[in-house]
């Protein structure tokens, strides 16, 4: 099986450690992962902000880059959801051939936890992380991809990890891409409530499957000197007794 890593532009640029963790983790599980170097961005920011032409151009590029692979794994619920939910809509108003390429692409795109649980069939990935962790499910993972309990099943198998439930977990953190700067007051109010719920758990680490939401919540936690750090799911799953 040819597996490609879709790093996503946010991870590529700001959170390379998450990509390195995905590579480490997948290799440990016996999966050889390739990084197609021509990849850039899925186009989510453009489409969701109201620039469908630019978004469609990036979608075409994505499909060209990843067409030859059996599986495309992304450490981001919202970017995977972008391909799965929005590409078919964008394709509907372009050409029939692009719509066909998208239809072929969509079932091959996985969020990391889907790939681990559904394709590789593992929940115990041999990780060790002796910390108190709470998990924020993020909207696109929860309501877009319907990841359900896959991420928490993976976390529950991590040795040493104490998983504490997050009150109001299913509520949006207020990031919403450009919403965070277009409606900063509401975004901050939503994040204020999210952060209050996070700190109420007494967790050291806030974990999620999307670094863009984590960047927003983490930025607020940092500003408040809350003493809670953010970690992508991949980074926790990649950690073993040997590597920590």
């Amino acid at each position: 099986m040819r597996v490609a890593l879709f790093i996503t532009c946010v991870n590529d640029t700001l959170f390379p450690g998450t990509g390195q963790a995905v590579v480490t983790l997948l290799r440990r599980l016996g999966c050889d992962v390739e990084f197609p170097r021509a990849q850039t961005c899925c186009g989510q920011m453009h489409v969701n902000t109201g620039y469908p032409e630019e978004g469609t151009r990036l979608a075409r590029h994505f499909v060209d880059v990843f067409a030859g692979y059996d599986a495309v794994v992304a450490p981001s619920g919202s970017c995977a959801a972008m391909v799965r939910e929005q590409y078919p809509r964008l394709a509907r108003v372009t050409t029939a051939s692009f719509a066909g390429e998208v239809a072929e692409m969509v079932p091959k795109v996985y969020d990391l936890s889907e790939f681990l649980v559904d394709v590789l069939g593992v929940t115990d990935v041999g990780a060790y992380f002796p910390h108190r962790v709470t998990y924020h499910p993020t909207c696109h993972s929860l309501r877009g991809l319907h990841l359900g309990d896959r991420p928490t099943r993976l976390l529950e198998q991590v040795r040493g990890l104490e998983l504490v439930p997050l009150p109001g977990a299913e509520e949006c953190c207020g990031f919403g891409g450009t919403f965070a700067v277009k409606n900063p007051a509401i975004s901050a109010a939503m994040c204020g409530d999210k952060v209050r719920n996070v700190t109420s758990t007494g967790a050291e680490v806030l974990c999620a499957a999307d670094n863009s939401c984590l960047m927003h919540i983490g930025g607020t936690l940092n500003r408040q000197r809350a003493g809670v750090r953010i970690m992508h799911l991949a980074e926790i799953l990649a950690t073993t007794e040997a590597t920590r």
């Binding site: 450690g17 453009h46 969701n48 309501r143 949006c172 965070a180 900063p184 509401i186 983490g218």
Partner: protein, 470 residues
Amino acid sequence: MSGGNTFLGMPAFPRNAAAAVQDSQLRFNLRKATHTIRGKRASVVAELPDWTELRAAGKEIKDHTLRNLERYLLQMEEAVTAAGGHVHWAADAEEANRIVADLVKATGETSVVKVKSMATQEIGLNEALQAEGITAYETDLAELIVQLGDDWPSHILVPAIHRNRSEIREIFHDKMADWGRAAPEGLTDEPRDLADAARLHLRERFLSTKVAVSGANFMIAETGTLVVLESEGNGRMCLTLPETLISVVGIEKLLPSWRDLEVFLQLLPRSSTGERMNPYTSTWTGAVEGQEFHLVLLDNGRTQVLADEVGRQALRCIRCSACLNVCPVYERAGGHAYGSVYPGPIGAILTPQLRGMGSALDASLPYASTLCGACFEACPVAIDIPEVLVHLRGKARHPRTERLGMRAAGWVFNRPARLARAQRLGGRLRRFVPERLPGPLSAWTDTRDIPDIPAESFRDWWNRTDGGAR
């Protein structure tokens, strides 16, 4: 959507919301009310094993009706006329207001009672009647509070959600006398006392007013029947006591048959008040027992919405307000920030389609959402609100700086080499990034730190180490 000009000239959503978010009373009221209804809705929806099928049926029935709207509207007109009613067609707010004002004037009356009707708020009927010397009296309890308080509704189902009981007591105490029977001496803010005061005030109004204006939740084309669902019984009195009844109904409210109504009588109460069934369901067909009946079929932008293949799903809406009660943005901004009788997620897709996106406010509404998807999940007729929001954003006018920024980002993302160069530049300048960013980006750093920019991007790491092999 014209008329209802109380909202004209309002600033864009972000400014309205920024003010509302600091109103501690509003935040408290909204949090309490939306979370309570949210919980009730969730439990009565969960107890129906066939909710998914009901939801799919509701969507299908509405889509079928909208696809064949012309046929069902003509059937409705024919059936109402055959049952002794009169049918009027109104293309826009102005025409609808003209028709209603003329009908009232023809009776020689100068006052009307109203049962809560969003369509008449949409067209600004009360103001239009006032200009003709006719006073409209709201009789839904919450609408009464809004009217006495010279206020705007802020929720579809509970229009006075932004008021608490002591505020309501003040309003009753100060204003009831101006509108009819005064509030009793020694009125307290106990809910029972407040309800008694409203009952006395309204009862006098019901018994003395000869013309009523209503809306409707549904119209059944096969028999020409109108249906109103309510909780208080005030609507029932409005519909039955007066000698003339004028119903103003949006053309999308049609259902083909009584069998279809069965689906919606399950979907609507459970989604709106979180009840298995609402206390009062009134149905009437044409002129009943000597009462004169007029039906005003209102377009006011709806056929234009129908022409949009993605946006038309908004016309399935049955005004249950489940999307408002689960929306984290509505919960913090409140209804007034949306500048429309249709607030919350449904308002964010309905208002810009009905009114167009010419004003700053209307153009900002599709952006009043994080696209979290809670609204779509709660919608009993499966309106994919995030899909329509994104669709409308694609049609909105964008600020110049944003356009330039997006074009630049698109240029960078179009070539991997450009992205790599931009990342390396960022890596080199990482030490110089200020804690507070300038311009529009200050909206980020006002409340959040920015992440540390890494010295090396993932792609450079991969290239340098051959994917970690070296």
